[in-house]
C-alpha cells in the first residue's frame, strides 16, 4: 500500500467522527480537503451520515427512564452519611484545589465564567435580593458601608466581612487578597454573598487597612471589620 492509499484509508476511518463533528480542527480540515477532491470518499461520507442519522433516530426512540430511577437514587443518597463541606483556611490551597478539577479545555472555555460563578455565586445570582438582605445582615453585624467607613467605630480583631463587586474577576480577587496579605476564611453567605477574610493587622492598623481596601471599588463592593 503506498502512502496515498494509506492516507486515504486513514481519512476514511475518520469519516464517522467527521459526520458527528467530533474531530479536532486539524483532522477535520484534512478530511474536508480529501472530500472535496474524492467523489467516492464523499459517497462513503454520506453513508456515515446516514448511519449517524439512523443511530440518533434509534436512540431517541428509546424513551426515558421513569421517575423510579430518580426516587431510588435520592432515597439512596438520603441514606448516605451526611457530608460536611470542606473549608480550607488557606487561600492558595483552596483555589488550587478548585482549579485542579478542570480539564485544560474547560479551563480555556469556562473557567472564567464558572469560577466567577462559584466565587461570587450569591452575588451574581441573587443581585436583586442581596441589597436588602445584605444591608440587614451588615447592620446586625455592626458593620459599616464603604461610605460610612471613615467615621465608623471599628473593632479590634483580625477578621473582616467583605463582598466583591459582581464584575470583579477571579484573578483580580486573588491578586487583591494576596496583595493585602488576606486569607479567605469562609463564605459566601447565602444571604448577601459575604465572605470572611483574615487580615494580618489589629487595632488602628487594621482599621486603616480596611479603609484602603474599601477604596478599591472596582473589586470591593462592601467591607467592614468583623469580630
Amino acid at each position: 500500500m503506498n502512502t496515498i492509499d494509506k492516507e486515504r484509508e486513514e481519512l476514511e476511518t475518520l469519516l464517522p467522527w467527521h459526520a458527528a463533528g467530533t474531530l479536532n480542527r486539524r483532522d477535520a480540515e484534512r478530511v474536508e480537503k480529501a472530500l472535496a477532491a474524492d467523489r467516492e470518499l464523499m459517497r462513503r461520507f454520506d453513508l456515515a451520515r446516514e448511519e449517524l442519522n439512523e443511530t440518533i433516530h434509534l436512540n431517541e426512540s428509546l424513551g426515558a427512564p421513569s421517575a423510579r430511577a430518580m426516587e431510588k437514587l435520592f432515597a439512596a443518597i438520603d441514606a448516605e452519611p451526611v457530608r460536611r463541606p470542606k473549608v480550607s483556611l488557606n487561600l492558595a490551597t483552596r483555589f488550587a484545589n478548585f482549579v485542579a478539577g478542570f480539564s485544560p479545555r474547560t479551563i480555556a472555555l469556562a473557567t472564567a465564567a464558572g469560577a466567577l460563578a462559584i466565587v461570587l455565586q450569591a452575588g451574581v445570582i441573587t443581585t436583586g435580593l442581596i441589597k436588602y438582605e445584605a444591608a440587614t445582615q451588615v447592620a446586625k453585624q455592626e458593620t459599616v458601608t464603604r461610605t460610612d467607613l471613615a467615621s465608623a467605630e471599628v473593632s479590634d480583631g483580625t477578621l473582616a466581612a467583605i463582598r466583591f463587586t459582581p464584575k470583579a474577576e477571579m484573578s483580580q480577587i486573588t491578586a487583591f487578597l494576596i496583595n493585602n496579605k488576606a486569607s479567605m476564611i469562609d463564605g459566601p453567605t447565602t444571604a448577601g454573598g459575604m465572605y470572611t477574610i483574615r487580615l494580618p493587622e489589629t487595632g488602628q492598623a487594621k482599621e486603616d487597612h480596611i479603609r484602603q481596601m474599601a477604596a478599591q471599588t472596582a473589586i470591593v463592593d462592601l467591607i467592614a471589620p468583623k469580630q
Binding site: 463533528g21 467530533t22 439512523e54 434509534l58 428509546l62 421513569s66 430511577a69 485542579a100 478539577g101 464558572g114
Partner: protein, 186 residues
C-alpha cells in the same frame, strides 16, 4: 444565564450539595439510560443501573480529576455497571443469536424493500449488531464522543477504537446486504 458547568456541579456534589446532584442527574440521566439500555436491553435493569451510576457519582465526586468531560466519566461508569449486570445474567441471549435471528427472519431482498423503508431497515440492523459494535456506534454517533473519549470509556487504545468502528460499520453493511440493501461499501 449560563448553565453551571458540569465540573462545577461535581465540585458541589463532592461537598454534599444535593441540589447540584439533581441538576447533574436531570442533565445527563436520559442519555446515560439510553446508553445502558442499548447494552442491557432491559428497561427495568437500565433504570436500576442509572441509579447506581449516579450514586457512584455522589460517592466519588471528590475523586473526579477533570481529566475527561463529566459525560465521558458518566458513560465509563455506566458501561462498567452494565457489563457487570450482564455478567450476572447467565441467560442473557447471545449477540450472535440476535444477529442470526435477524438474518433468518428477513424476507428476501425484494420483499424486504417493498415492505419497509430503508431507514427502518438500517435501524433494525443497528439493533442487530453485537453489544461491542452497538456500543461504539452509539458512542460515536449518538453520544458524540471523540476517538480519545471513546478510548477512555471503553478502555482500549485509540487505534483500536478506529478499527472497532470500522468493523462495526462493516458488520452493519453485511446485515444491510442480507436485508437487500447493497451500499457498495466496504
Amino acid at each position: 444565564m449560563q448553565a453551571t458547568a458540569d465540573e462545577v456541579l461535581i465540585g458541589r456534589i463532592a461537598s454534599g450539595d444535593r441540589l447540584a446532584m439533581q441538576v447533574l442527574f436531570a442533565r445527563h440521566h436520559v442519555r446515560v439510560y439510553r446508553f445502558v439500555l442499548r447494552l442491557v436491553r432491559d428497561e427495568s435493569t437500565a433504570e436500576d443501573l442509572i441509579s447506581e451510576v449516579f450514586l457512584d457519582v455522589w460517592r466519588q465526586a471528590g475523586r473526579f480529576e477533570g481529566r475527561s468531560a463529566v459525560s465521558t466519566w458518566l458513560l465509563a461508569i455506566a458501561r462498567f455497571k452494565a457489563l457487570s449486570a450482564l455478567r450476572r445474567r447467565p441467560d442473557e441471549e447471545l449477540d450472535e443469536e440476535t444477529a442470526a435471528s435477524i438474518e433468518d427472519t428477513s424476507d428476501n431482498p425484494e420483499t424486504a424493500l417493498e415492505k419497509k423503508d430503508k431507514s427502518a431497515i438500517i435501524r433494525k440492523c443497528l439493533m442487530g449488531l453485537s453489544a461491542e459494535h452497538r456500543e461504539i456506534i452509539d458512542l460515536v454517533y449518538y453520544h458524540e464522543k471523540s476517538v480519545e473519549e471513546v478510548a477512555q470509556i471503553v478502555s482500549i487504545p485509540e487505534n483500536t477504537v478506529k478499527t472497532r468502528m470500522f468493523y462495526a460499520r462493516k458488520r452493519l453493511a453485511e446485515l444491510l446486504k442480507a436485508e437487500g440493501i447493497e451500499r457498495g461499501w466496504p
